[in-house]
């Protein structure tokens, strides 16, 4: 029997980190530059959107006449509270004024007499996030060759997000809303056996960047919008349902708590750069190989609390409890429990 070989955790692995621009970016790094996690590699301008100011309505004039009441021209920079339009009332008694609701630039006046103000873009400093070397400066991102610990999950959702690693729950615990506190904002939370929908909702509200968890109910996973992004990234390490996060992954993450990390649901990876190590191993491709006695394996067993074990014996075709005939393997879990399963239901865990 052949089985897929999975790498749940790869330590000291070389990784090409892509730092995407959040808007138009003035790059301050060049190819070949050595960077540290806190190095600023670019200044990105984040568009803050537009706002409609109903000038004609506020002044009580027709849309076509609005321009003659404007105190500022198209393209002018205006500031919050500044008077941008004024109309004197009959006989010079009183006046009507419209103030700018925000800092911005007057973009246009439409036929309804509404003024469109573009908010002032916010400048965001883009940091390297990891120690390494700039390998490529593209139109939309900068690539940095770095290294660290890479954790792979079985499924995930959400774009790449970054944040400090925080252990939120023990492997067997459910991740419940009460665990999500203000200090979780901007962080990647690790641990637990089941991520509940109510927890995700609270986490999005607070501004949590992501979760690395053993399991999630399939319906909650689908509600996160596969192929879209709801503002949070989730990586599932074991499968759907209540399944404790593997001790191997939990311990690795625990050792790297408070480190800066990158989580991608689309790539199903959680990458934690390390700053000390200078030489990193090349990432090997996922592959398949022949299943052998002694292999550490992950068992397909929905609902089981234990999934990682060691192959103790392999045998030719046997009749299963289901009545089907298949090649089987005897697997011993870390707790000592032994089971016999079809060999086809195993993945080899690359140590």
């Amino acid at each position: 029997m052949i089985s897929p070989v999975i790498r749940r955790i790869t330590k000291n692995v070389e990784h090409e980190l892509e730092r995407k621009f959040t808007g138009s970016c003035k790059v301050s790094a060049r190819v070949g530059d050595e960077v540290n996690p806190e190095s600023i590699i670019g200044h990105c301008e984040v568009s803050a959107g537009q706002r409609l100011v109903k000038i004609a309505h506020e002044l009580g004039v027709s849309g076509s006449s609005v321009k003659k009441y404007l105190l500022r021209k198209l393209g002018d920079r205006i500031y919050r509270g500044e008077i941008i339009a004024r109309r004197g009332l009959i006989f010079g008694v009183g006046k009507k004024e419209v103030k700018s609701p925000a800092d911005g630039v007057i973009n246009e006046v439409d036929t309804n007499g509404d003024l469109i103000v573009n908010f002032m873009p916010t400048t965001v400093r883009l940091v390297a996030g990891a120690k390494g070397q700039v390998t490529k400066v593209g139109q939309e991102s900068i690539f940095i060759k770095t290294g660290g610990t890479k954790i792979s999950g079985v499924s995930g959702v959400g774009r790449e997000r970054e944040g400090l690693v925080k252990i939120i729950a023990q492997p067997h615990e459910f991740v419940i809303p009460q665990m999500i506190t203000g200090d979780c904002a901007g962080k990647i939370l690790v641990g637990g056996s089941l991520l509940e929908r109510s927890t995700i909702e609270k986490a999005v509200t607070i501004g949590v960047h992501g979760f690395v968890v053993g399991g999630i109910n399939h319906r909650d996973f689908l509600s996160l919008g596969v192929g879209t992004d709801v503002g949070i990234t989730v990586l599932i390490t074991e499968g759907f349902g209540t399944t404790p996060i593997g001790l191997d992954i939990f311990e690795a993450a625990k050792q790297l708590e408070n480190n800066f990390a990158f989580l991608s649901g689309e790539a199903k990876t959680f990458f934690i750069p390390i700053v000390k190590q200078e030489r990193f191993l090349k990432t090997a491709q996922d592959y398949w190989r022949k299943l052998s006695v002694g292999d550490i394996v992950r068992v397909f067993r929905p609902g089981s609390q234990e999934l990682i074990g060691k192959v103790e014996a392999l045998s030719e075709r046997e009749v299963l409890n289901s009545g089907l005939v298949a090649e089987v393997a005897s697997v011993k879990f870390l707790t000592g429990k032994k089971i016999t399963v079809p060999s086809a239901n195993l993945e080899i865990v690359d140590a």
């Binding site: 029997m1 052949i2 089985s3 897929p4 079985v154 499924s155 399991g215 109910n217 399939h218 319906r219 996973f221 499968g239 759907f240 349902g241 491709q285 996922d286 592959y287 398949w288 022949k290 397909f300 067993r301 929905p302 609902g303 009749v319 299963l320 409890n321 289901s322 009545g323 089907l324 005939v325 298949a326 399963v341 079809p342 086809a344 239901n345």
Partner: protein
């Protein structure tokens, strides 16, 4: 006979890759059949492993590759193999079914691609005989899609896989059209692996509308796709008997209580009365031709033959009144399974 007459056919499926070494002389013979999970990230590995394992049994066999994977066509070139698309395979099989005089053939492939569809969980759960919550079942189906090559290790997992196939095939119009007699050919996945053919019978009967009659043929080695690829390249193999299809027998969905006459061509005609909700099996040998008459208000006649299970008469009301999460439904499903299991034991 020369070794050049040997063919090695690789059928690269969604989750399993099957390899067959066949010879056309002196008679159709499958010399070797091996299967492995498809190494989806790189189909070269599972294909290469199979070719290596099987090539030692024959000198320079001609290699054919068939698959729905786009990469399979590229794989064929370095292997000096011929790629046969699934469209060609389907056409060849369709012609071959006509050559075999199969009446209105319908092919049901129970392969793993069925598990990747979107299911309404209530459609799947209605066919389970054991208690399982909606969330548990959704999670199981989600995990099954992640690990589609998995083999059901216990009866509950097997029931879920079978229920998924029921949900997948429920849309087949032929199974709902009582005016049309069909020859149903079942191949791949559980349809080929199932050790108890009566489970396949129950799966199909559950889907069949009131008044529907089918003759069922089983591709026990999941060889049919490979055979389609083979006869596309070697036309004279169409006339060779590879004993691909095993005649399982006939399924009759009466839709309630009813009477059926079976004329074996002997002096007497056997009459069978079925009560409502009864499932009865009448052993009939494969070679035995039977004229079957269903006594509705008007008589409806069919010419069928026996098979592994003979003729199964189903007196259940259709569509089945099953509801996910109801104890009544679980008890019914369980009783139907036991009914056919017992029939099989009796047969032994």
């Amino acid at each position: 006979m020369t070794s050049a007459e040997d063919y090695l056919i690789l059928d690269i499926g969604t989750s399993w890759t099957k390899a067959f070494l066949v010879s056309g002389v002196p008679q159709g013979l499958i010399k070797e059949a091996i299967m492995l999970p498809t190494s989806q990230e790189d189909i070269r590995y599972s294909s290469g492993t199979l070719i290596k394992a099987i090539s030692s049994k024959a000198k320079s066999p001609r290699i054919l590759v068939t698959s729905t994977f786009n990469e399979a066509e590229a794989l064929a070139k370095p292997l000096s193999a011929t790629f046969v698309s699934k469209e060609i395979v389907s056409k060849e099989l369709s012609d071959w079914f006509a050559l075999q005089s199969l009446v209105n053939p319908t092919l049901l492939d129970g392969g793993a691609s069925n598990y990747l569809r979107n299911f309404r969980v209530s459609d799947v759960g209605a066919f389970l005989s054991f208690r399982m919550s909606e969330i548990e079942l959704e999670n199981f189906i989600g995990n099954k899609a992640l690990f589609s090559q998995s083999i059901p290790e216990n009866k509950n997992y097997l029931e879920i896989d079978e229920a998924l196939l029921r949900a997948a095939f429920s849309i087949y119009p032929d199974l709902h059209n009582p005016t049309k007699f069909n020859t149903v050919i079942v191949t791949g996945g559980l349809f080929s692996w199932e050790q108890k053919p009566t489970r396949v019978a129950l799966l199909l009967l559950d889907l069949m509308a009131f008044g529907k009659v089918v003759q069922v043929l089983q591709d026990q080695r999941a060889f049919l796709n490979s055979y389609g690829a083979l006869i596309s390249q070697k036309k004279d193999f169409k006339g060779i008997d590879f004993s691909i299809l095993k005649n399982l027998g006939v399924l009759v969905s009466l839709g309630g209580a009813g009477k059926v006459s079976l004329d074996y061509g002997l002096a007497q005609i056997q009459e069978v009365v079925i009560t409502e909700n009864e499932i009865a099996l009448i052993p009939v040998e494969e070679s035995q031709k039977v004229n079957l008459t269903i006594h509705y208000k008007q008589k409806v006649k069919f010419s069928v033959s026996g098979g592994k299970w003979g003729i199964i008469l189903d007196g259940r009301r259709k569509p089945l009144n099953l509801e996910f999460g109801q104890e009544r439904s679980r008890a019914q499903v369980s009783s139907w399974q036991q009914a056919l299991d017992n029939v099989e034991l009796f047969e032994i």
